[in-house]
């Protein structure tokens, strides 16, 4: 549905209505044509089910004419109702024309009668409702309620993922790995390679490979073994890549490395 369009129309419609309602007040305080019809119908002094709609239509049209002659301003819906009732009256008076389309005069009259009866019924129901015992007037609730103390126990929780994400937030460095994951006596080839690449630039002369062991790895035998092996493998790799030269005087002699001097030969 074209709601947007309706919304745009709304403020006007409400305003129109307020204006219309203000005018209705001018017509003797009737709440609208249906209210006026219901009031008029009471003059027939019969059960609403047996009401003569034709007579009611005549009454209404007469009322409207009087109001007009008094130059009372009539709200549009009163006039619309008057036109409709005039049409209904003609339908009710003329013999039914089988060629004519739409509901018959009787059907329209019956519905109007139903509307009046229903409105009256709702007014009666409203009166009965308001006549009931009402709380705070006829009967009363507890005046001195005892507070139900809401013992609100708040438990806090978090998931492992929350924990991880929180940690990631504080430590977003890409290379960061929690140290608890490190096997503490292992130096990998990658680590050694990375480290030696940085150091080799400073080693112009032959240096014993063992002196490249990282600080803190020389004393513990396991660490020393791992670091030595990693450094050795890294040296071979760097030699292969042409960054350094490597030599060993004899079996079990210290292994020495030095930065390869470009265009040495």
């Amino acid at each position: 549905m074209a709601e947007v369009e309706f919304e745009e129309d709304t403020p006007l419609a409400v305003e129109d209505r307020l204006v219309a309602e203000a005018l209705i007040v001018d017509v003797d305080g009737y709440e609208g044509p249906l209210d006026l019809l219901l009031t008029l119908s009471r003059t027939q002094k019969v059960d609403l089910r047996k009401i003569s709609v034709l007579a009611l239509a005549e009454q209404y049209l007469q009322f409207i004419n009087e109001a007009k002659s008094l130059r009372l301003e009539l709200a549009a819906d009163y006039l619309v109702m008057a036109a409709w009732l005039a049409f209904l009256k003609s339908r009710l008076l003329l013999p039914p024309d089988p060629t004519e389309e739409g509901p018959s005069g009787e059907e329209l009259a019956a519905h109007l009668a139903f509307q009046l009866e229903r409105l009256q019924a709702m007014r009666d129901a409203a009166a009965k409702l308001m006549a009931r015992d009402q709380m705070g007037r006829d009967f009363f609730a507890r005046g001195l309620p005892e507070d139900v103390t809401r013992v609100r126990r708040v438990t806090y929780t978090a998931t492992l993922l929350d924990l991880m994400q929180a940690y990631a937030r504080t430590r977003t460095k890409d290379e960061f790995r929690p140290f608890v994951m490190d096997r503490d006596a292992i130096m990998t080839l990658e680590q050694a390679l990375e480290r030696m690449r940085g150091l080799i630039g400073y080693a112009g002369d032959w240096t014993v490979l063992e002196s490249y062991l990282p600080e803190g790895w020389e004393t513990d035998p396991a660490r020393r073994r791992s670091a030595t092996a990693a450094n050795f493998a890294a040296s071979l790799e760097l030699t292969k890549q042409g960054h350094i030269e490597i030599r060993q005087g004899e079996a079990f002699a210290p292994i020495q490395i030095r930065k390869k001097v470009q265009n040495d030969d």
Partner: protein, 221 residues
């Protein structure tokens, strides 16, 4: 007062020893006295020891207070204690001035109560005039009506229904107890009879406008 006949004592007792029914009645009594708002059976059961049957205790309690200065009343699916209506004269100090409702508001309230769930345009058709925003707002604010489900018709208009607060205020156990409801229904006066052809004063186009307003504004938050 006890329930050994129609319950399954062997099952219940084997799990927990529920307090005797007399004790349960005392508990329900204390709970209902302590609050101004109706309390649901579920709520009572949550506060009472395991294995209690507040619904049964309520039956006993209700009987106990018959003819007394206060009564045990049912409001929708909850229970409350209220003073007997014939003693209202004693409570002048407690009387709360309710805002005077306009005739339009009273009629609108009655139409919602008897026709619920009902759309705004249906209310307007019954009353023959448009329903002002203020009227509906006032009833909503008093918490006597609330929004019901949307009607599954074009425009999906919202409907209005009455609340437990409404029932409580008018001393009704549920909306079926509305005075004269049966008679109105059997007389066909609660039917939503479509008019044969277009009715004057209620052009169809306007109705849809209203509903569009309702839809966009009512459930915005």
């Amino acid at each position: 007062m006890t329930t050994e006949d129609n319950e399954k004592p062997e099952v219940e007792e084997s799990l927990f020893e529920a307090p005797p029914m007399g004790e349960q009645e005392r508990m329900v009594e204390a709970i209902l006295f302590a609050t101004a708002e109706p309390v649901t059976v579920k709520d009572m059961a949550e506060r009472m020891p395991h294995g209690c049957d507040p619904a049964e205790a309520l039956v006993h309690l209700r009987k106990r207070y018959e003819g007394r200065g206060v009564r045990v009343v049912k409001v929708a699916d909850a229970w409350a204690i209220r003073t007997a209506p014939d003693l209202g004269f004693l409570m002048q100090k407690e009387t709360v001035e309710t805002r005077k409702l306009s005739r339009a508001a009273i009629e609108t309230l009655a139409i919602i109560a008897y026709h619920q769930p009902v759309t705004r345009s249906e209310i307007e058709e019954i009353r023959g005039v448009s329903v002002s925003r203020g009227t509906v707002d006032q009833l909503l604010e008093m918490e006597w009506i609330r929004f019901g489900r949307r009607r599954m018709t074009p425009g999906r208009p919202v409907t209005f229904v009455v609340t437990p607060e409404f029932l409580d205020h008018f001393g009704l156990e549920n909306a079926r107890d509305l005075p004269g409801l049966k008679e109105l229904r059997s007389a066909g006066l609660l039917e939503n009879r479509p008019p044969p052809g277009a009715m004057p004063g209620m052009p169809e186009g306007d109705d849809e406008d209203d509903e569009a307003i309702g839809q966009s504004e009512l459930f915005e938050d």
